[in-house]
């Protein structure tokens, strides 16, 4: 019974954190920009880059890492750090909620919002990749890359329709614009992908679009960003104002440099337990070069990211346990 009550409390915290993360106008703007970039970048490529869809897949993974990293960190700082500073956290912590549970549930809510962000981007990138493959069959001899106009219309047009739909819901149904926009963009990309598969020749292009290796790489990048979000939540429990973003910028830089650093100085291999590994991006190269990739290639980075997430959540729980909350 007590466990059930704790689970209900955790669900309430995580649900509010997820809604808070998607209710921020900056979150909707980030998703809009990321989806638009994924669809439009291949449309503006003028040279073939080795194989069809490479720019779409690389662009999708890059957007997931960069836009997703900013989204996850921003949401974590807001739902944990700013709530502690503003007093919203105090209103929750006077309830039968332990501080460790508060941190973990809030982080889970942020991760849940980021999962929606990643879900939209993965469908957008898959559609964009299929678009490039279909377009490659229409290319002339001048070497100019083509994309499927239908896919572009479905993906980018779907995003525009989603924004218009959110504006309509805001005007006539009094729904919050950012959160509605976020949800509609996500579902627009799923619907666009499903509709594209009904077009002649598009479903057949899925194999050439390297969807399976792309999904493995996306799972690895997702896990790396999740561990970064956990670090952001943990640091937000103690750092105030600009200190939290500054510390996160340091963690992000360390995450990018860490693989090369550990390779050069193996004695510091223990850092892998604390620093999110953004080096998993080598998987994107693997996808791009069409190299055969076994699922275990993604399992290791995911396991490593889970270990790093656990480290930061434990550190965050220790940091918040004795701090004054006013």
């Amino acid at each position: 019974m007590l466990l059930l009550a704790k689970l209900r409390a955790a669900r309430a915290l995580a649900g509010a954190a997820r809604r808070e993360a998607t209710a921020d106008p900056a979150s909707a703007l980030l998703l809009m920009a990321a989806v638009a970039a994924v669809h439009l970048a291949p449309a503006f490529q003028f040279h073939r880059l080795g194989e069809p869809g490479r720019l779409a897949r690389d662009g999708g993974l890059s957007a997931l890492l960069v836009f997703g990293g900013v989204f996850a960190a921003m949401s974590a700082v807001r739902t944990v750090g700013r709530e502690i500073e503003s007093g919203v956290a105090a209103a929750a912590l006077v309830r039968p909620v332990s501080r460790a549970m508060f941190l973990v549930a809030k982080t889970f809510g942020v991760v849940s919002a980021f999962a929606r962000f990643a879900f939209a981007l993965v469908f957008a990138a898959a559609l964009s990749s299929v678009s490039c493959v279909v377009g490659s069959h229409m290319e002339g001899d001048d070497g100019t890359a083509c994309v499927s106009a239908f896919c572009l219309l479905l993906g980018f047009g779907g995003e525009i329709l989603a924004i218009a739909g959110a504006a309509f819901a805001h005007r006539f149904l009094r729904r919050g614009f950012p959160s509605t926009c976020f949800a509609l963009i996500m579902w627009s990309q799923v619907a666009a992908f499903a509709l594209a598969m009904l077009l002649p020749g598009h479903a057949a292009a899925l194999g050439e679009a390297l969807l399976w290796p792309f999904l493995l790489a996306a799972a690895s990048v997702f896990a790396a960003v999740v561990s970064f979000a956990c670090a952001a939540s943990a640091l937000s429990t103690r750092l105030k104002g600009a200190a939290a973003p500054a510390a996160l910028a340091f963690v992000a830089a360390a995450s990018l440099l860490m693989p090369a650093f550990v390779k050069a100085f193996p004695a510091f291999a223990a850092l892998r337990a604390a620093i999110p590994d953004f080096g998993v991006f080598w998987l994107a190269d693997c996808v791009s070069s069409s190299s055969p990739m076994h699922w275990s290639a993604a399992a290791l980075p995911v396991a490593s990211a889970l270990a790093v997430s656990a480290f930061w959540l434990a550190a965050g729980a220790a940091m918040i346990s004795n701090r004054d909350v006013s």
Partner: protein
Amino acid sequence: MENVISIHSLKKTFRDFWLRPTVTAVDGIDFDVGKGEVFGLLGPNGSGKSTTIKLILGLLSPTAGKIEVFGSSPRSLKVKARLGYLPELSHLHPFLTAREAIRYYAGLSGMSSADSARRAAELIEQVGLQGAADRPVGGYSKGMARRVGLAAALVAKPELLVLDEPTSGLDPIGTREVKELVRSLAKDGVTVLMTSHLLGDVADVCDRIVILAKGKVAAQGRLEDLLSRRDATSFTLPGVSQEEAAAAAELLKSRFGRDPEVSHPKISLEQFFLDTVKGGDAKATDAK
């Protein structure tokens, strides 16, 4: 009487990033709050009221001294399950509606979805938010947000209710409703600890008070004992004319050898306002 809150030699010193002491907000205070009491915590700005409340709620850790709520540490989850808290500023998620906000706090208290929906409906009616329950609280006035905060404080049927400036932002009718609610909760055995700058509100509902000044207890006791003038006695006699009053004053002077103070008893401005507004409502109804 069983004590719900016991505070002994409580001290809280805030420190900066380098752990250097910056200010001692609470400096060795002692007081107890008994079960079913309405207890007022008073003091000027910076006297340590809010810090004391946050120590009682387990949000701050004491630097020295002892604090017990229901005989345990205020950080205990079992203690928190018996508490309700209305903060000075209603910290609500602006994107939630009043109903969702109350259900959110019900969820934090471990209530099931069905129970939280039922309790939210009850409380929305109790705090008078029926017409606005499904609007986001971000667009609420201060008084309406206060009502949501009060509903959130009551959601888990607390045994100890901590109210920080409960009537701030409320109109006189809302203020009266809150005071009546406090009295009725106390009658049902709920212990209430409240702070307020509106001393009239405190006088209306509190059994005992403590006055803090510069982090120390300046006075404490039963309101009746603190406010009674033991060196004087007043009589109220209805239906007395001016001449009769003058004759009575003369009689008292001749008997005791001192000039008595003769005046008409006054009602409070709040009572006058409520009578006027209710009278206006009645006239408006008659006119219809």
